[in-house]
């Protein structure tokens, strides 16, 4: 078992045409996925990121985050346990974010016993 980060990128334009009922249905699907991952014992953590663009620090130079120009913004993450990448991807495939046009980046967390 290793830990994998799932980074969820949003495209706000995907949501503008949804009715309140459709938004609630979407919310329920997201929550149901989280409950499934929790009940399955493989959800290690999750956070929603604040909606601001954030800051980028280079050397001593601080600028506003890189997101304002791009369509997709990093909206939040999950940390899940999985045997390998295939397994992690399989656990990601039924996430409703994909159904609603979002992108999920799956990244394995480096472990101390990892061999190069």
């Amino acid at each position: 078992m290793a830990n994998y980060f799932l980074f969820l990128y949003d495209n706000p334009a995907n949501w503008v045409t949804l009715s309140p009922e459709e938004m609630q249905k979407a919310l329920e699907k997201y929550i149901a996925w989280g409950e499934k991952a929790t009940n399955g014992g493989y959800l290690r953590g999750t956070h929603r990121l604040a909606e601001d663009v954030g800051k980028v620090v280079r050397g001593t130079k601080v600028t506003d985050g890189p997101y304002s120009e791009t369509k997709e913004i990093l909206g939040g993450y999950y940390l899940i346990a999985a045997d390998n990448y295939d397994h992690a991807v399989q656990r990601t495939l039924d996430h409703p974010h994909l159904e609603y046009g979002g992108t999920i980046e799956v990244r394995r967390v480096h472990a101390m016993h990892d061999q190069e």
Binding site: P12, P20, E21, E22, M23, E35
Partner: protein
Amino acid sequence: MDGTGIQPAAAAEVGGSVEHLFRHESGRIISYLARLLGPEHMDLAEEVVQEALLKALQSWSYSGIPSNPAAWLLQVARNSALDAIRHRKVLVDKEPALIADITAASRPLPAHDNALEASLRDDELRMIFMCCHPALSPDASVALSLKAIGGFGVREIASAFLADEATIAQRLVRAKRQIREKALSLELPSGFDLKRRLDSVLDVLYLMFNEGYDAHQGEELIRQDLCFEALRLARLVAESSLGSPRVHALVALIALQTARLPARTDSVGNLVLLGQQDRSRWDQHLIAIGFHYFERAIAGTEVSPFHVEAAIAATHTRAPSLAETDWKPVLALYDQLMQLKPSPVVALNRSVAVARVHGPQAALAELDQLENEPALRNYYLLPAVRGQFLAELHRSEAAIVAYRRALELSCNAPERRFLQRRIDQLTQTDRNAPGALRR
């Protein structure tokens, strides 16, 4: 709640999410903001609510639903409204007063604030009366009520009306423009004006219900939602200071009819007529609501068409089966309805009661009188009912002709399948009749 102790049907919950929460809160917050910002800024109110819902979706999907989601949404919408006022300078003349009002209201909210609840209910009531103002066309009123108070999306309204989205969107734009041009206000009517305004509200809610219940087009699920929304809004009026026996009768009528919806289609989506319906699938909770309001409706001396229609629905609901229905009072009620609100559709429904009391032959004679009604010319139920009476008289061939005529008119897929099934059954009976050689 409304003090009756009758709660809405048990909500299906996912992770603490209350059924239709977004839809209902959207309507409440739009109504609240429309009062603060003025009805001419309804678009801004809608925009701000949409933003609040999106924020909720984005953050609750990770963290779960907060303990008081309604207060959360209201707070976020208020802040967005405040932002819009400050940064976009949309309301230059009213700005200082508005900022003061919204800021004063922006304290953290307790989990249950009865005064706030009452105030939001009052805002919704005002919004109902404005959206159903007699200066607007009934169609526009239904669409606007569904959008602004019901929280329905344009696509959902369009699918309920089987109209395209652009048509509905245009209808909404026009209605809002009329509100601005005619300077319709959110003040509740009183005195002389009250009856006219209340009549207009009840007519619109009745139309909304009928769009859901009767429309022979559109998606089944969204049509049920229309019935429930008409019920919710009618109850809101009934429980307000403007409630009257007539309003209670409308609530009773909607609740008793809507209670039968679950039994109206079978597991594969086929239409099931009243006589064949599994009455155990009628919604007992809605029936309880219906009878509760029916009792209140008949407490006074007033008799409105809603009273009579509710009484007809109540008679059907009380009967253990269609065969055991007491049809004489039903026919008497239809006679009364024809006096209060004569219409070809009422006459058509009455003919069914005539058939049960005086036989199908007498009922056919009633139908003959409706044959040239322009309002029924393209109504599939007229030939369908004729087919039913003819079949009861064992005039299979004529019945098949009538059902085929019904099939040529506009009706939805379950209704088409129903008519086709009747034709098939009659064809079958014909073949099995003595003298028929073919199988």
